[in-house]
Symmetry: D2
Subunit: 346 residues, 4 copies
């Protein structure tokens, strides 16, 4: 007996990824596809401008799209809603007793909403008890540039402490949704701006790495500077990172710390969890977006080029798949953790 | 009466740019094209695999290619030689009394060789008097990623002082020469390595910004960290820079300092000099390689996105044309300065 | 004393090209910029999302945008209007006594409207006398894929006759306007459809190559088949063409016919006219979009790879700049011809 | 008990695909990797510049590379040798009793060598009895642009007959091997030449569609014209095809003929065989390389846009994966057919 779930914003680019990744999920079954008024009432295949390479799952293509109002035949909804409407709709669903597992940014900074990465801060789920939504609730995953970064930082933070962080991102086109970036703007070009992104990268890691106790999050105190660029890559955000640690750390120990990193999703063998959250490459020109973005179902973070940094302490390069580990896959892993920890029980 | 000049390595990608940019130069006239044994003896058009969009200058296409030995009909040579051979050949020419204006890296770090940017350190030309080449000599220009960076730093360094610097580059394909980067390696991809580049970026600015007195260079003491990436852009290196200044500086003053920056090449009205060495853009998504690389004949540096940096003091984005300002155009501007300052006199 | 002109649809991508190409025109001076209600009343620089690399001409950037109604301070207007509105607005202007030189498709097939290429069918301007617009009138230029094709066919048609024609196009992104093609649709991809284009390519050449006599056009009778593709190229449409001629023709004679082709714009030395309408390349891998699209101000057609065709008679490859020779530049050349032939006289 | 096989040219780009696709083959097991002198004696992982996204199969990475001489521990070899050496080496192996299943072009036109596509001309395997290699033999697969084309033509040829054929290809970069096409040649560009390709496309289909009887192939008599272009796509050759049929055919019947096409590999359920050799898409902008190249393990041909052709009879667009269906996958399917038909028996 699978748990019935719904998808809010099912026709958008994140919504399509939910549809795609939940295709044969062992625990969840998509029973409702909700979208804007314009789409509601149509069959999904007629409402959606399907942009993924895999075809629409057969059994969903003829499902009638619902309105985004809380009378869907399920208690759990994944939200890929656009930020312009997500705030209110998600609140409505939570109040009506739904568990909303959201990829949207609107509630990420609410003090009682977990900004969850199951390998990093599974205990933050405890925040759900602080919410005023009765049996409902809202859980969010971080921005697509932050998930991979927070995963790479977590074992270093725990072992050595982190004082400061400098990140330059080279972000993929799919992060901008569809149609997103015009081909005329990116062919033979780089755009040195991803609107709103730098602030998110400078803010979210401290909440994620924060300490949960007595019902609230005490954020970490890392100084973070981010510069975000858009490059001509379909999927996979590459990030050039420099860190200043609180304790001395030999290079080999950092690599070992990454390679040995396992956490709750690996112990629980969550279906969406990667076998290893972090792969360290010794090849001098790795990781690369096209080669490594799909590593371990697109859920692993690839790291390489660890070197001493003459300004901070160490620098390295990381890569993660922005629409899987950084969006729909992240939310699904959140739901899997919630199920295993009893938050989705009937 | 123009000054006759020769080009060493005339069939390579930098050599072709020399040929192209010197096409109608008011002061210099190309009289000799020298290349490897394989090419020597052939007409230039038959020896070269011409890769530029402009055609080969008519009067040079049938010139017979010479060997790279110092019996060319000129006293000044531009060198675009490959680093595997440039060291020895350039020394040979200098010893034979030629002034060698080189884009190769081999002699850049020789203590008696100027690493010259006419707007930044024109006085370093004084080093020529230290060389043991008699009437000959060697002058070099910096690495393609360093020229634009050093130009952006110079006015800040003079006014506020610089303590530390963090740079992430997004470098164009033409920097790797021809055939250079395989299309299979860069389509839908980024390569987080430009071999040997990070060390150059971490080293050269301190020599360039150094003080020349009593016959030698006292290097600057900026701590520099660089991470270099190759992206799918034809020309134009974009750099994400963070700086820590020695003195407090309001944002507006930094911009003003850049906008007001003029130097010797502008005063002397050197033909290759840009009207303004630095353009500051207020558009939030500028500068961009395809839009701004050709600004002011490809000789200006474009800067934008100045913001406070939570880790160092300020961050910004800069762009310069890697094969013009960063290679052949840089060397030609060096030659123009040398002419005006009496170093090319007969 | 320059002739004052206006631009209809001045904020669109074709409109911007009119603004750009008329920047320093010796005969015309832009005095009015008209666009939709949304833009009217604003300064041009605030109304336009300027996408070209050259900056907005200084003196036009602060011009107030007008509505597209016929009370502009000029008698000649260039139209880059979107096809959804061009039909009616252009008719209104013509009726009000304006000469409308249009790049839009709406009136191209009107029997009394010239589909003009000055090198090919300058006599078709005689159609203007058939129009019912009083002192006003409408002249159009062909679709961006057809201009280069018709230029390549014209000398063959006159000398050997053409029975049939097979064309496959590889069209540039700028042909779709801005934002046009999503980067997610074209990176590492080809789209084998340019909506509506095949019909235009199969239709327009016969009108253009038709005979004008007794006040109407007798179309040519070439059988034409077209397949149109969109590729990841910024500017420049490449076309693979096969032709069946009516008379036998040796290869050398075809090339000679192209190379010797000159016409009225060359005789009249129209400012926008290329010195040679057609360049034939003997290099086996030419022409190429990035290398040859800007040949002769972007107004020349590049041809190469003439070979016998085992199915029809000959095959070859042609290239022309879609937004210059195929759009704004084409219309300006039309206007220049009209001026010289007395159609723009006061 | 799997059949041991070797790979000739195992370090090249086709050789790597053999290694990759044979990773878990149910019938074959790679026991020998042979390459040039430069590689022989090294471990495979040290000899190869591995360019595929999947990692090197664990058990092969440490296998010692052999010389390309016929003393390998197997009787069947796949050849991905470069054409400069394939002719002689393959002959040597065949003479020594090996069955050589080759992707190289050298023996394709030998009258006694099958140019085999299992769905199209499985009976041509009978040619093996004409060869003078004793128990050895040579079987080839067609050029990467021809496999998909021949598959699309086969059902039409059998049912309606084909008189003439016009093809324009838009070919992927991987077809040129590694490093192959320089990024500087293809970014923002098309190269209207694939050296040697047009002749192959004009020749091979007639041998493939030919009739085998009394020990030889009577070639088909289709007039074929091809124009071949290289575009900025990683994998997947797109082809714009026009055909002239011998008998009238309604559009619906052509589509039905394609959709119903099944052949020997499907009946035999060969592991590498696609379920349907041909997929017809009704979407007006399909097929597309990035979306459809991997259809059915990269072994299916995608077709779309069937329309009447004003010059010949019909036109359409087809796509097939050039390095799977058009190279290594094709050869493996050939081997599977040979095994089932008793040609690989011990």
């Amino acid at each position: 007996m699978k748990i019935p779930v719904g998808i809010l914003g099912a026709t958008g680019s994140v919504g399509q990824q939910f549809v795609n990744l939940l295709r044969n999920h062992p625990w969840f079954e998509v029973k409702a596809l909700a979208a804007s008024e314009r789409s509601a009432g149509k069959q999904y295949k007629d409402a959606v401008n399907w942009i993924l390479n895999d075809p629409i799952p057969e059994h969903l293509s003829q499902l009638t799209v619902s309105d985004c109002i809380p009378d869907l035949p399920c208690k759990v909804v994944f939200s890929g809603l656009d930020a312009s409407v997500a705030g209110e709709i998600e609140t409505n669903f939570a109040r009506a007793g739904y568990l909303v597992i959201s990829n949207s940014r609107n509630h990420r900074y609410d003090p009682d909403v977990p900004l969850l990465i199951p390998e990093v801060n599974p205990d933050h789920l405890g925040l759900l008890h602080q919410q005023k939504y009765g049996s409902g609730g809202i859980v969010t995953n971080p921005n697509c540039s932050v998930v991979g970064l927070a995963l790479a930082l977590k074992p270093l933070y725990d072992r050595f402490g982190i004082e400061a962080l400098h990140v330059v991102t080279l972000q993929a086109l799919s992060g901008a949704g569809y149609p997103g970036v015009s081909s005329l703007d990116i062919l033979d070009n780089v755009i040195p701006l991803v609107a709103g992104e730098e602030l998110k990268v400078q803010t979210e890691p401290n909440k994620i790495l924060g300490t949960f106790s007595t019902g609230k999050i005490e954020p970490a105190q890392i100084k973070i500077s981010a510069q975000c660029n858009r490059v001509a890559v379909k999927d996979g955000h590459l990030e050039c990172v420099s860190v200043k640690l609180l304790q001395p750390a030999p290079e080999s120990e950092i690599i070992e710390t990454w390679q040995n990193f396992r956490s709750v999703p690996q112990e629980l063998e969550l279906p969406m969890a990667p076998a290893n959250p972090i792969y360290y490459f010794t090849e001098v020109n790795y990781p690369q977006p096209r080669r490594h973005r799909n590593l371990d179902k697109g859920m692993a973070v690839s790291i390489g080029r660890l070197q001493p940094c003459p300004v901070l302490d160490y620098k390295f390069v990381l890569l993660s798949h922005n629409t899987i580990r950084g969006a729909a896959g992240a939310a699904i892993l959140n739901a899997e953790l919630m199920l295993k920890q009893g938050y989705l029980a009937n």
